[in-house]
Symmetry: C2
Subunit: 337 residues, 2 copies
């Protein structure tokens, strides 16, 4: 294989093989139905003689498809996000699609810029953890019938398939567990609910609902949705007041982390001084002391489903449109509650 320095194109192959460009193109796209065996061989030879590699950019331009999708993650620092991305990548790889990953950092401006950039790069579709703030942008994408799937979060006024955890159920599972273990004074801590990020809201709603169903009254002070940076202070208020909660549900990995940090710093003991359940089955749950009871999300199924829906839509397979795909959370009973 003589590697010429210049990029070798279809034209070179054609010349080398003594056929025309189109014949080579046919060959490359496996349309050898009407092709002479001999030509076929000559082309094959020329191809690896020259070390020819197709230029996908040129192909994309012509075919208006890039076999690439974009994934815009709201906040990559959640373990959940990387698990989802991994799962999407895995599925795409099987279909020979590539993914471009972008981290919007919960910033609608950044999200918008990324969406525009990805479209400019002609990606065939996008999977978004939506910030919920770019509603008209999402809508205009829909108008154009641009393939898009939401994941983790749901945007009310936008008709786009959304892959979601059954967040209320997640809270229900946790609350029921608390109740079964005899805890009556329970609370929940999540990230800020300000930008109405669906999971947080639904988890809180589910929590309140479940408490009611189980005959518990939850003090408002025991329900906190605040910035990560403010959690320590909130915990201090909540746990050091008279009659504090006995059990706390962490809305996600990051809040769980903050709770554990607090507990540790204040030399409290889990579950004696405070019972804890975390939503998201964090990696260290089973080796933590005590082992952490968690509510897990089926991340791999969720990512796969998102990718599957998107690719099908891209390929034009009619899939029944469904507003929301809810996935079942599962409880991992360990010893923190």
């Amino acid at each position: 294989m003589v590697s010429k320095n210049r990029t070798v194109t279809i034209k070179d192959v054609a010349e080398e093989a003594g056929v025309s460009k189109s014949t080579v193109s046919q060959y490359l796209n496996n349309r050898y139905e009407y092709m002479g065996l001999e030509t076929r061989e000559r082309i094959a030879e020329a191809v690896d003689e020259l070390g020819y590699q197709p230029n996908i950019v040129a192909r994309s331009l012509k075919q208006k498809t890039s076999t690439t999708i974009g994934v815009i993650v709201a906040n990559i620092s959640h373990e959940f996000s990387t698990q989802i991305v991994r799962s999407i990548e895995e599925y795409c790889n099987e279909s020979n699609f590539h993914i471009i990953v972008c981290n919007a950092e919960d910033d609608p401006e950044k999200e918008k810029k990324y969406i525009e950039m990805l479209r400019a790069k002609q990606v065939d579709g996008i999977i978004v953890f939506p910030t919920s703030m770019n509603i008209s942008l999402y809508q205009s994408l829909n108008l154009e019938d641009y393939p898009m799937v939401f994941i983790d979060r749901y945007v009310p006024d936008v008709k786009t398939s959304s892959i979601m955890l059954d967040n209320k159920k997640a809270s229900h599972l946790a609350v029921r567990e608390f109740v079964e273990r005899g805890y009556k004074k329970i609370g929940i801590v999540t990230n800020s609910t300000e930008n109405n990020v669906t999971p947080r809201i639904e988890r809180i709603e589910g929590f309140i609902e479940a408490a009611r169903v189980n005959g518990l009254i939850v003090k408002n002070d025991f329900i906190k949705g605040v910035e990560i940076e403010a959690i320590q202070a909130e915990l201090e208020k909540m746990l050091f007041r008279p009659d504090p909660p006995e059990a706390l549900l962490a809305g996600n990995d990051l809040t769980l982390f903050e709770i554990l940090k607090f507990v540790k710093e204040h030399k409290m003991e889990i579950p004696k001084d405070l019972a804890v359940i975390g939503i998201d089955d964090v990696s260290f749950a089973s080796i933590y002391d005590p082992e952490l009871t968690t509510i897990g999300q089926p991340t791999s199924e969720m990512g796969k489903k998102a990718a599957e829906l998107l690719l099908k839509r891209i390929k034009g397979d009619e899939v029944a449109f469904q507003d929301i795909y809810r996935f079942e959370p599962f409880i991992k009973r360990r010893s923190s509650c």
Copy 2:
């Protein structure tokens, strides 16, 4: 802004503004030096009248550059990998580059396939956690002068800039810490060293060296490089023999995980029954009980450096070629040793 369904091209803008395509192109590329103010305004109007978005694929084809780089991760399940990727993404974003992330799963075939695919997509360069098994492929890329940077691992016969941790130093730090705390019987556990993955080998070498320097004799049985799946069995052998090691260095996050699991299952106490230090400053180190002493890598600097080197090279800025860039590990003294 009337959104036509058809994709709007430079040609449409030109017609709308009553100028030629080339003029529009000039405008779009900020070359208005010689452009009449009035034309400029007309074009600007036309652009958002039509909601024009440039087609980067077409531009790529013409300019032979895609403002995209590929990142091939050897194994995405190490926290380290995702941190590096995040850091690369961050740097690239500032330069308006995008990244395509691929997970080779330590499989040379997959790595090869990805490299070819990325090249076909005309990415401007790649950052690779090399499997070390595709030497001739790496070499041929070098021959073509294709921009590439290695990270985490080093491939002896390939002249490519590599971003590395000073792995020996990492082991030295750990061993010295053990020694200072009075441990004499120490061991190390890493993943399999079979495919001569540099960090693992260097960490073991550094460990042995450091032991010697500190006047310790390390039993061969206390040095293990095995598959993750086999670690539990090895630990059993190592720790339940007469005269077992008092302290263990975990070669990375995954092995640390295995050690902690073992310790937990066998109700051992850290550091009383076994002192532990882990290379990689795992996320839960500070909330674990006991807090975990770790040797951290400056992942964010490392990722940034890799991206910086690659982008500079892509942009044609001459950067002094350097074989290996070594980064300093740091110790986080906590309570597991």
